[in-house]
Symmetry: C2
Subunit: 648 residues, 2 copies
Amino acid sequence: MTVDLLETLHLPEQVGSLDEGQLEQLCSEIRHTLVHFGKHHGGHIGSNLGLVEATVALHAVFHSPEDRIIFDVSHQSYVHKMLTGRAQAYIDPEQFGSVTGFTNPLESEHDSFVLGHTGTAVSLATGLAKMRDMNGQHHHVVAVLGDGALSSAVAFEGLNNAAAQGGNIIIVLNDNEMSIAEDQGGMYAGLAKLRASNGTAQPNLFNALGLDYRYVEQGNNVHAMIEALNAIKDTDHPIVLHIHTCKGLGLDAEDKQHGIERGQCEANHWQNPLRDEHSPLGSRKTYGRAAMAMLEQRFDDEPGLIVISPATPGSNGITREFRKRAGAHYVDTGITEEHAVTFASGIAKAGGRPVVATSATFFQRTVDQLQQEVALNDTPVTLLEFSAGLSATDNTHSGAFDIAMFGNIPGLLCLAPTSGEDFLNMVAWSTSAANEHPVMIRVPGPQIIDADRAQGLFKALTDQIDDSLPASVTLDAMIGHEAAAAIMKTTAALNETAATQDLHYRHSRVVQAGQDVAILALGNTMPLGREVVEQLAQGPHPVHATLVDPVLFSAVDEELLAKLAEQHRIVVTLEDGQLEGGWGAKVAQSAERLAERTGHQLQVICVGGDTEFTDRVPLNELNNRYGLTTESIIHRIRSVAALTTAER
Amino acid sequence: MTVDLLETLHLPEQVGSLDEGQLEQLCSEIRHTLVHFGKHHGGHIGSNLGLVEATVALHAVFHSPEDRIIFDVSHQSYVHKMLTGRAQAYIDPEQFGSVTGFTNPLESEHDSFVLGHTGTAVSLATGLAKMRDMNGQHHHVVAVLGDGALSSAVAFEGLNNAAAQGGNIIIVLNDNEMSIAEDQGGMYAGLAKLRASNGTAQPNLFNALGLDYRYVEQGNNVHAMIEALNAIKDTDHPIVLHIHTCKGLGLDAEDKQHGIERGQCEANHWQNPLRDEHSPLGSRKTYGRAAMAMLEQRFDDEPGLIVISPATPGSNGITREFRKRAGAHYVDTGITEEHAVTFASGIAKAGGRPVVATSATFFQRTVDQLQQEVALNDTPVTLLEFSAGLSATDNTHSGAFDIAMFGNIPGLLCLAPTSGEDFLNMVAWSTSAANEHPVMIRVPGPQIIDADRAQGLFKALTDQIDDSLPASVTLDAMIGHEAAAAIMKTTAALNETAATQDLHYRHSRVVQAGQDVAILALGNTMPLGREVVEQLAQGPHPVHATLVDPVLFSAVDEELLAKLAEQHRIVVTLEDGQLEGGWGAKVAQSAERLAERTGHQLQVICVGGDTEFTDRVPLNELNNRYGLTTESIIHRIRSVAALTTAER
């Protein structure tokens, strides 16, 4: 299929002058382009395929950039990008990846914001509209929101406040009957009734919030969409245009065979390219699955062991098969991080041991609830923090800020395991009756899975293709019968104990004893720490350094630090997150206190990330930038050693 | 009036055995007690007066503690406390203050949680109900929620998820037609229609969320409430009981004269005791008013200058008179911090200069939006952070965590002014066209207002009674004509410049140059820093220390630190917030980097708060505990000096 028409469009205003046939052809070309792009590059294809006609209609009716169109979360903005001068990034394989997966003002004046967290579009649009009204201007402001996003906290605040503000605010609700996984919550039955009644049923949630409302059943018909948008374009009050679309429309049977539509929703949410089809699972899915396999074995005996996912189960290894088997032991709360964490605190207060699983970047939304409802109330909630640490991700989804953000909350024990087995043991302990406090566990990253696999662990998942792995792979198969049995036995013992005072995971571990230099390698940096220690021992001036696994990042083991100070001059802290506010800063502060008391000043070298947002920068490049490399660390150690020797 | 009946009740189950006349007498005694308590001790009297009958009815129908009753925000739990063995804390002036203003499991088994932030009760109740169902138990779970709380993000997530979960969850919606200030948002017209129609009108917001619904017009009739609760008590699905109550019911004309009901809502929200009636305004209201007076002068010329308050204007000096005059330049978003900050980013993106004003403890709810929608999008939003720093407040409302929480967000400039004039200048700059980035400003605390008043500043507010001060007091009257004129002139000039590169407030200031010891006194600790410097210069071994105003807490002025290192051995950082993750930790880390480069090791002494929650501990006691006293600091400095001298 050709993309002749799409290639001729360089300005969105050209869309407005197309005739009916051309509009249909354009939609067809776009859909074809998306499917091809999804197969070969990957991306959030499902929702974009559903939004083809609506986006074409938006640009036919409105005049961007004077009129502002804000895409919530913004990963459904591919078609918008194609129509605003960026089509080649989706057509030409050479240019795949040249634009981000999210809107970005640095790319185009047609993008107002960088957005990647759910539910903020209505609030942002309300702000743009407020300013327009204060300036006495008359352009239009449109927010495009998915039905899954509707259940998130801030979206609701935005809708309620848009209604109160008044004026021209157009909210396009893209209802494809799916969130990232299934839709969750009481409101969705109401949306179904609205769809079934062609938008006439009551109670109407939007009317109840004081918003005007229209329904378009044919959300994938470009003419119907243009007509509907023209009819409400000049509204003098906020209005919701509820459109019914089909997520993944255009994927055919062949595509499904190629794994593009594996699973009704999740696989369509983020589409991996075909070249990744035979890659082993990443650390996130592997460790997530292993944790679930471990917990699952205990479900029958422990009614309070409940896994909670705020809408992103698949990417964290919580497979559909697991969810089915878990039954009431699994709760998907929809895209509602605040609720998920608060809900967990309620379960824990009643004696349960809930586990909340989501990404570091989404836990950011729960800082207040983590502090108030969880930490202040001291409830034994376990938080599995996925995708923490430095990575090549988009600037909207970075996990580099977690140590500063969660590691300073009073009473929240934050753990950074240095192996998969360590991780599983921590989860086993924190979810047992022996633990009575909130615990966050940083799920190990790619650095750790490589080390684990080198030892033959998690092999059962290594050679398998993505989600097609039978979900019944057991813990035994992942880490061996002995290790699996040991974890299950320990957990049973911990549940028997119900320890009143636990000292688990409150101390750091000396991995290898040495002198002069101590390397404190937090979580994912342990393989780097090992390499530094090995290399320091080489060459003409060998240093036999001490290697420490800090274990926790919410505190410093000051007793150990004091001991280290006796035979070490240099302490190096490694962390794969932002240095400011982070763990190394705590060590530096502890070292100063120690010096104040004893007069003995350690040189602390903190290695970690800068205070900055990074956007799809390869991890290697970040590690180089921040000096998280063996070479740089050894250079710094040797420079300081030379300096202090010279001084003496 | 006697309180004979109330005094005989020690267990909530006794309420269930009272006859009709006794129930009415009990309500009357409770109301009388609340009014008296409010006049003489102060508290959240308004909502409690409205909830008297509902709370008595709850305890008559349900059997606490088996049945769980969760009060949202929990400052409307006074009646519940009276009925669960804590009546004397409200009756006996000697015992006033012996219980907290919030529910607290340490006080009573009838309290499940410590709660002080809005909207979490439904999620917590849903968690308790989940665990009950998993255990196969059959008790009841009740959440009591105000109409103002309904507009907050997490409350909505909770309602939507309670509906999805099912089972016995009873949500009592206490509708007194008011939030803290007026209700805000499109949903409130819907609530009014429900009230007008005796609960029969559609669209019904709760039905739209999939929840069952009942209405009780006579929420202040104990018999009607008992009947309504009995009717739904054993529901097998979540249900909202919408009750209409009167906030402040029982305050009479005489009370109003005594200032108890000054203002329809705000004064009823938090009732100051009569003894405070003639006290001067605190720092929070004073500086808030001064900032508003300054901004107000610019409204006519700057359409984009917009003040946003998420529901707490009064306590931040945003008076009703100001709001009236400000018109469209003021927006109350309801209790919706996430929306408020996101909305502001939208305004700023469109060229405006929005100002979001709320407490440190409530900004905690916006960490994700501050990072993503504001900092990542680099929009010039000004955040006025009230009640930051150590204080004697409840554990739910502490401002001690702000430096760690906000000072580590990339791209967010965080300022800590050391005087009222400094503060106003910072606000003037950050809201001018010359500033193009997000700025958080810590509103100065009580330590600073004392210093200001000692210099005769803000006197126009000093001698005035609380809210009765005419709102028209101008900036001139507060800080003198010259200073006021200078600020306005500077702002005008900054607006002309629209500087492309601003270096404002990126550097620390040397207040007094000295040697050997440098005191870096952040924000509110400046008076303490001055005293330390003065005292160090006394006695037989005088030290002429340097005094530095750090100005910002989001970074360290490393250039200045390097200079200090040349003539100083000891650097002392003072901050009135949590040390871990805070500003002193950044200085310690910077000092280590400096030592690594130069071999010159400074001794950094960081003084600040521990990582802990504190509950109504007097500020003096906290300062003593953390060594934030002249004596302790001087002792530490002299000890280190002796130590290093001895070593040399």
